[in-house]
C-alpha cells in the first residue's frame, strides 16, 4: 500500500469524525431511534390511545392534507399569527424604544410596566373574545398582544442600558440631539428589537393557537382541540407536527434576516494586526 493511499484513509476517517456530516448523521440517528421507540413503545405498552404512534400520525397527516383542510387551516392560522406578529412587534418596538430611551418616562412608568410583566397574558384570552368576537380578529389581536409584550419588554430593558458614556462621547464628537438618535440610539435599540422579535416570534403562533382553542371554527389550533374532543390522539399529534414545522421554518427565516441586518454581531474571528510600524 502506498503512503498516499494511507494518508487518504486517515483523512477520510478524521473528516468523518470531525466534519459536520458526522454530527448530522448522529442527529438523524437520534430522530429515527426516537420514532422507532415511540412506534414500538406504543404497541408494547398498549398505549396508542394516549400517545398514538408515528405511523398513525402520518396517516392522519395525509388525510388532513388530501381533504384540503390542511391548506386552508394553515392559511388561516398563519395569517392570524403573521398579522398579529407585525402589529405586535412594530408597536412593541416603538413603545419599548420610547420608554427605554427617555429615561424620565421609563422611570415614571416602570411600576406599571412591571405589573403588566407579571400578569400571565394568556389569562386575557376570554376577554379578547368579548372585545373582538370569535372571528380571526380576536386571534390577530391576541397574538399581537403577546408579541407586543415580548418585544416591548426586551426593547425597553435593552434600550435603557445604552451606555450613557457612549452618548456623551458622541456629543463630544459633535453629535446634536438628532444625530444621537439616528447614529446611536436607533442602531443600538435595533439590537434589542431584534432580540425581542426573536423571543416574540413563537408567541405569535401561541397567540393564534390559544385564540383558536378558546373559540373558533377553523385553523390548526381548532383542529387540535376538535381532535382531542373526539379522542383522536393521532390527529392531535398531526397538528403538533404541523406547528413544529411552521415554527422551525419561521425561526430559520428570522435567523436569515438577522444575519444580514446584524452582520457586525455575527462577524466572527479575531483579526490579528500585522506589524506595521
Amino acid at each position: 500500500m502506498s503512503g498516499t493511499a494511507q494518508r487518504e484513509t486517515v483523512s477520510f476517517w478524521t473528516s468523518l469524525h470531525t466534519g459536520k456530516y458526522f454530527d448530522s448523521l448522529i442527529q438523524l440517528t437520534i430522530a429515527v431511534v426516537t420514532l422507532l421507540l415511540w412506534e414500538w413503545g406504543s404497541n408494547a405498552l398498549k398505549a396508542e390511545f394516549w400517545i398514538s404512534r408515528p405511523s398513525s400520525v402520518a396517516v392522519e397527516l395525509m388525510r388532513w392534507a388530501r381533504s384540503g383542510d390542511l391548506a386552508s387551516d394553515l392559511r388561516l392560522t398563519l395569517m392570524e399569527a403573521g398579522v398579529g406578529f407585525l402589529i405586535g412587534s412594530i408597536a412593541g418596538a416603538l413603545v419599548g424604544f420610547t420608554l427605554g430611551w427617555v429615561e424620565r418616562l421609563g422611570k415614571l412608568l416602570e411600576p406599571f410596566v412591571l405589573s403588566l410583566y407579571t400578569l400571565p397574558k394568556i389569562a386575557l384570552a376570554p376577554l379578547f373574545v368579548l372585545w373582538f368576537g370569535i372571528g380571526p380578529m380576536n386571534k390577530i389581536m391576541f397574538s399581537a398582544m403577546l408579541v407586543f409584550f415580548m418585544v416591548f419588554f426586551t426593547t425597553f430593558q435593552g434600550t435603557r442600558q445604552v451606555d450613557r458614556d457612549l452618548v456623551a462621547n458622541a456629543r463630544m464628537l459633535g453629535a446634536n440631539r438628532w444625530a444621537i438618535w439616528t447614529k446611536i440610539a436607533i442602531p443600538y435599540a435595533a439590537i434589542w428589537v431584534f432580540t425581542g422579535i426573536r423571543i416574540g416570534l413563537p408567541y405569535a403562533l401561541i397567540g393564534a393557537i390559544v385564540g383558536e382553542f378558546v373559540a373558533a371554527d377553523a385553523g390548526v389550533g381548532f383542529r387540535i382541540k376538535e381532535a382531542t374532543s373526539f379522542f383522536n390522539t393521532a390527529a392531535v399529534f398531526a397538528g403538533l407536527v404541523v406547528l413544529m414545522v411552521i415554527s422551525m421554518i419561521l425561526l430559520g427565516l428570522l435567523k436569515l434576516i438577522e444575519m444580514r441586518a446584524l452582520r457586525w454581531q455575527t462577524a466572527s474571528g479575531i483579526i490579528e494586526p500585522e506589524v506595521t510600524p
Binding site: M172, I191, I270
Partner: protein, 262 residues
Amino acid sequence: MANPDAARTAAQGSDMLIEFNEVVARFGSLHAMGPTTLSVRRGEFLAIVGPSGCGKSTLLNMVAGTLNPSSGSVLYNGKKVDGPNSDVGYITQKNYCVPWRTVEGNVRMPLELRGMARGEMDERVRFALAQVGLTGFEKAYPKQLSGGMLQRVMIARTLAYGPHVYLMDEPFGSLDAQLRMRMHAKLLDLWQQTGATFVFVTHDLQEAITLADRVVVMSRRPGRPKLIVDIDLPRGRDVVDIQADPAFGAYVKQLWHALDLH
C-alpha cells in the same frame, strides 16, 4: 494631519488655551481633587502624572465638559466650559467604538457629524487609518479586533477630525511595550505636524518625559499640582535615544521623588 493650521488659526487671544482656576472636584462626601490652579499653553504638550485616584482623569473630564467642577472654573479658549466640548478629542482606555459600524465607519462618524463632504471624508479616513497602521482593516468590525487595535481605531477617529486639543487618558495602557513606543513616535510626529495642544495623563514617568514639554505631578487625594517640571530635552526627540540621555534619568529621579509613593 490634513489641516495642520487648524490649531494655529484658532489661536486667538491669550496664550493659555485651558485654565483651571481653583477647581475642586467632590463626589458626594469624597474630596477627590483640588483646589487646582493650572494653565495649559496653546500648542503645548502637557503630561500629568500622579498616584491612582488623585483626580488626573477628572481634570480631563472637566475640559471635555462631561463633568462640572464642584467649585472653581475651567476656561477653554477664554470661555467657561459648560456641556460637551466638541473642540477636543478625548482618548481614554475605554473604547467608544460603536459595534455596528466597521473600523472605517467608526472613524468616519465624527466627520459625518460635522457634515463634511464625502470626498474629504474618504481622504481623511484613509489618512488617519494609515497613520495608526490600520490600513487594510477598514471593513473589520470592532468585535473582531484586539484591544490594542481598538485603541488605534479610537486614535484614528480623533485624528480624522483634527481637534485643537487632544485629551489622552492613559491611551496606551493596553498596548504592548513595542507598540507603545511606536505610538509615542507617532504621537510626537502628530503633535509636531498639527500644532495641536496635548494633555496627556499617565502614571508612566518615562512616557511623560519622552512626550511632554511640562510634567505636572499631582499629590495624593485630594489631588493638586505638587510639582511642575519643564522637560528641557531637545525636540525632534527620538523615543529610543532619548532614554539614553543623562538628563532623562535625572528627570525620572526628580519626578519619582516628587510622586512619593512610599
